[in-house]
Amino acid sequence: MNFVVDIVVTLKPSVLDPQGTTVKEAFHSMGYSKVDDVRMGKYMEVTISAGSKEEAQGKADEMCRKVLVNPVIETYSFDIKEQEKQEVN
């Protein structure tokens, strides 16, 4: 089975985000004065084959910790769903 993992990586709340701060200031100068905070992050889509959803989950978590995320500054979350079968005409 193929699973699609949607991974979102963001800076930890304790880490200042210069990009997010700049975007927030842009919002303020546009008149969106109620924007309190903006945090920027990364989105990644990984397709993996695994015997079960649990196995895919384990693999995805491992890949996040080992490669995709720098735990010193970043945190992550992900969603997993089974890949929809492509229709063959």
Partner: protein, 233 residues
């Protein structure tokens, strides 16, 4: 004759500058090491040069740390031998866990390319032994992600172990926010490992070893390496 190796990753672009500076002003014995090497020759010092290894994909230095040569660099460092990472080389040392902390985007969001002043606050390690404590060096930086970050606990460790080596300052040596080019914690420009044999620094000493380039202050770092290696031989 002391032997230097300069690692070349795909995307390194200061490798030849390092090679030039070492060859002409430090030691005749310098070689390039391709990042796929899983074996390295007998060396006394390894340089991880600046640039954009793997196009800075994912995070700066994040992919380079999986190059086979990094295992060799780690082994080399464990033996107490000297490893210096400059700019992207520093970022690779952080990602590979040889030094603590991480790099964030510059506070200004701009790529900063200019001469800065650095205060040498730790001159007891092999990379700074020829520099007087609190001397001010004029060395250029060129980076988009030099905003060094470490959590408060890690920062206390750095201070306790005297691992902070260079701090950004103004020309008079005042360490303040205005002289910090990227927003790094505590104006940190360079740190070393607990043992002092691994140094990471954002400024480029190899770019100011030749009088024709405007400053000779980078030479102090290489001369320190030379002296400490000569003494230990």
């Amino acid at each position: 004759m002391l032997r230097f190796g300069v690692v070349v990753f795909p995307g390194s672009n200061c490798d030849h500058d390092c090679y030039y500076a070492i060859k002409h002003f430090v030691s005749d014995k310098v070689e390039f090491i391709w990042h796929k090497s899983d074996k390295i020759n007998e060396l006394d010092c390894i340089v991880l040069p600046g640039g954009f290894s793997y196009g800075d994909y994912l995070r700066t230095g994040a992919i380079a740390r999986f190059s086979p040569v990094i295992e060799q660099v780690k082994r080399f460092a464990r033996q107490g031998k000297l490893v210096i990472g400059i700019c992207n080389g520093f970022q690779i040392l952080l990602e590979s866990g040889l030094l603590p902390g991480a790099m964030l985007r510059n506070r200004s969001l701009r790529f900063v390319c200019k001469y800065v002043s650095l205060k040498a606050v730790n001159t007891s390690i092999p990379f700074t032994c020829e520099i007087s404590k609190n001397d001010i060096l004029k060395i250029p930086v060129a980076h988009g992600e030099g905003n060094y970050y470490i959590d408060p606990q890690g920062f206390e460790e750095l201070k306790k172990n005297n691992q902070i080596v260079f701090r950004y300052c103004d020309a008079q040596g005042n360490i303040d926010d205005a002289s910090n080019p990227n927003g790094s914690v505590y104006n940190i420009a360079g740190i070393c490992s607990k043992e002092g044999n691994v140094l990471g620094m954002m400024p480029h000493p190899e770019r100011c070893c030749d009088a024709r380039l405007g400053s000779l202050d980078g030479l102090a770092v290489f001369q320190s390496i030379l002296k400490s290696l000569t003494l230990s031989h």
